[in-house]
Amino acid sequence: MRATPDFVTDAHRKGGVHPTARSAKRSGKGPRRAPEPRPGGKSIRDRQARTGWLYTTPALLVVAAVTIFPVVYSVVMSFTKVRLTHAGTQVTDWTTANYTTMLGSSAWREALLFTVGYTLVTVAVELALGTAVAVLLERLEAGRGWLLALLLIPWSLITVVSAQLWDYLYDATYGAVTWLFGLVLAEPPVILGTPVPAITGMAAADIWKTTPFVAVIVLAGLVRIPREQYEAAEMDGANAWTTFRRIVLPALRPVVAVAVLFRVLQAFGIFDLPFVLTQGGPGTATQSLAILGYRALFQDLNIGLGAAIATSTGLLVVLGCLLFLRVFRSQVDSAAEAGEGGAA
């Protein structure tokens, strides 16, 4: 990267004033005023704060270097022309071309659709299954620990490894799943070579792996619900479903929110499963945003465009999560209120 990239000038910020005009203007204005130091205020609290900052600075610098700088820099790259040259990476000229290219690309729209749809479906199924498993586990008297440990095996496997296992299972020639389908269907599907089975197969692998994670989190929430609440509901004549909806679910709100957030963040960035199983195929059926970004960045070395995909994906998932929290909170709140109203 150049020492001082020429795009970081006031001229650009102020809408393209000619550099000479700008310097003339600035010299007319005189030097900028530095903020004045606050008089006095040397209380113990200030001193403590200063010491605190002193202690955390090294850690904060590391965080800034490995997290904040790369993220900010990739946002910058997504708005610029990036070229790899002998003298290093050249970042020049503010432009929105990367974003217009991205938005105008049907591949991006398809990838977005796939990623959003895949996230919604897998997370919903994982949540439902995970909650069911957790409810079941909570009622178990004996063997809960063992079952929990067994359940966690899929979760503890590295996805690239478990994806390879699924690849064997789905193999069109000798795969066990293909064989099973062959028993009931005249013509077993080419699972990873046909769009709908490929997406379903991938979702199944994802659900298999992450349902235990959701179950564990939900279980943690379940065991915290006081017995008395169940007893009270029972005395009021609430059936199992009403109890679940009006007592258990509101109480689970915080843990479910956490589980969903974790899952959405991960599912939206889905990369390893399609990378191993389908390479985004058949055609472009399982091409997620992350696969698209990887290809632009690391295969095509089209860094500006890749950064635009990465930035927009990051932004989308953050917005999605905020929206989810808002909707979820109001939903569960109203359910809880209804529950209280019903109990009264």
């Binding site: 490995v66 790899l84 069109a172 389908t278 195929g281 058949p282 992350a290 295969q299 095509d300 990465a310």
Partner: protein
């Protein structure tokens, strides 16, 4: 490998993807400060072989020997006979072309002087040249140097009148077939693709094989190879000769894709071909399930070896046929070459080593010992290759090489446009015409660097 895997997975996380972008482009050159870094590599230094002891780091994937071993140590030993003062240290590279590129791009684009020489795919030169990650070689070797290699091979290594890599070995495809089954049914070795389809269907009908013809149809580079040569068979190409225009959607492209689609529709090729890479198709052939196989030259050694194949001794290997009424014999050019890192601090020694492997000395070692083809004319025409009992070697000179449309610095996007659309056709997800129209749009976007 670890590093590339890490970067891959970093790219995967939605949030972390940005960080990966920065990892690739973030760091400036760490090379020698001053003018050299600003103006480009020091070509004067690159032209001189140093006299003092020097170490060259060679990033290379395994090169297979005839006996199954690794040829790289022998190549280095031979080099040291000529240049005893240049030590070559080997860095193991991933064999997967995309993984290797991702790792190298991160390293070289950020100005690392190591590796000095790196082995790369022969589809990389345009991209590496455009991104200034490879040393231009024309001025270092003299004009008549390149005439000794097959024209399409040198052409593939060139970008805008420069050559960016020394050819190391060459790969080309053949048609493998079951001699015994053709004989049993009184069928000739197919003279054209239409005949192949009919013969295969006949043998399948008789119940002598599950599949007629297997090849590589997954969404990846290998499908681009299959399509490129089949389009050449039909008398066409993917791009115009200057690489600026799209010709894939012409009659040749239509004939090629229609043929592939019909193979699947008629049950001659199994539907699972949409997930096949080289190994899957080879397995189908060596297990005796398929009559015909399209694969690279290495397949002979595997398929004709009783340890790895149920059909050893029953197979034949010929140059690919063409379409009826067209001249056939095409084969997609594959291969690996050696690039010189322009940031190397030992350019002279690096060039000497990379060049040695492509010169007669290195190439004859390949001709004698390697399980891959040396591209140099003398080596390709030597008795070791021409007189080999491996038909993939002895017939090598008869293959008419067709390069993939590699002259775009955005070749990966060009290739992706070809293989995703072709895969859609063979999986039945799209008609030939629709796919070709989409491919045209994708290819045009790819050439402008705007494809995703």
């Amino acid at each position: 490998m670890t590093m590339s895997r890490r970067t891959l997975l970093a790219a995967g996380g939605a949030g972390a993807a940005g960080a990966a972008a920065a990892a690739l482009a973030g760091c400036g050159p760490a090379g020698p400060a001053g003018t050299a870094a600003r103006t480009g590599p020091d070509l004067a230094a690159a032209a001189v072989v140093p006299k003092r002891p020097t170490t060259v780091r060679w990033w290379a994937a395994r090169v297979a020997r005839k006996d199954g071993g690794d040829l790289r140590p022998l190549l280095i030993r031979e080099f040291n006979k000529k240049y005893p003062h240049i030590t070559v240290r080997m860095i193991g590279a991933p064999a997967q072309t995309d993984t290797a590129r991702a790792a190298l791009a991160t390293q070289i684009a950020s100005g690392s002087p190591s590796p000095d020489v790196f082995m790369g795919d022969s589809v990389w030169p345009a991209q590496f040249a455009y991104n200034e990650m490879a040393l231009p070689l024309r001025s270092l070797v003299g004009e008549d140097y390149w005439g000794r290699y097959p024209g399409p091979h040198v052409d593939a290594l060139s970008y805008e009148d420069e050559v960016y890599a020394f050819p190391l070995y060459q790969d080309q495809p053949y048609l493998f077939y079951r001699k015994d089954l053709l004989r049993k049914h009184g069928l000739p070795v197919p003279r054209h693709w239409e005949e192949l389809a009919d013969s295969a269907a006949e043998v399948q009908r008789a119940g002598d094989a599950d599949y007629g013809f297997v090849w590589q149809g997954s969404v990846y580079e290998g499908l681009t190879c299959n399509v490129t040569e089949l389009v050449a068979d039909a008398g066409g190409s993917i791009l115009t000769e200057d690489g600026a225009g799209v010709t894939f959607d012409g009659p040749a492209g239509e004939r090629a894709l229609t043929y592939l689609r019909d193979l699947v529709a008629r049950g001659i090729t199994p539907g699972s071909v949409t997930t096949f890479i080289e190994q899957d198709s080879l397995d189908a052939f060596t297990s005796g399930r398929s009559i015909f196989l399209r694969n690279w030259s290495y397949a002979w050694g595997v398929a004709n070896n009783p340890d790895s194949s149920a059909v050893a001794g029953k197979i034949g290997c010929v140059v690919r046929p063409g379409f009826e009424g067209e001249e056939g014999g095409w084969g997609c050019l594959g291969g690996w070459c050696n690039f010189v890192n322009p940031h190397s601090r030992n350019l002279g020694a690096a060039v000497a080593f990379a060049r040695f492997l492509s010169d007669e000395e290195g190439q004859m070692v390949l001709a004698r010992e390697a399980a891959v083809l040396p591209p140099l004319d003398e080596a390709l025409g030597s008795r070791f290759v021409r007189g080999s009992d491996n038909p993939a070697f002895s017939e090598a000179h008869r293959v008419r090489l067709v390069a993939r449309p590699v002259h775009s610095p955005h070749y990966p996007a060009v290739s992706k446009a070809v293989y995703t659309r072709a895969n859609q056709v063979i999986s039945g997800g799209s008609s030939v015409r629709t796919a070709l129209a989409s491919a045209r749009r994708d290819l045009q976007a790819a050439l402008k660097g705007e494809a995703l």
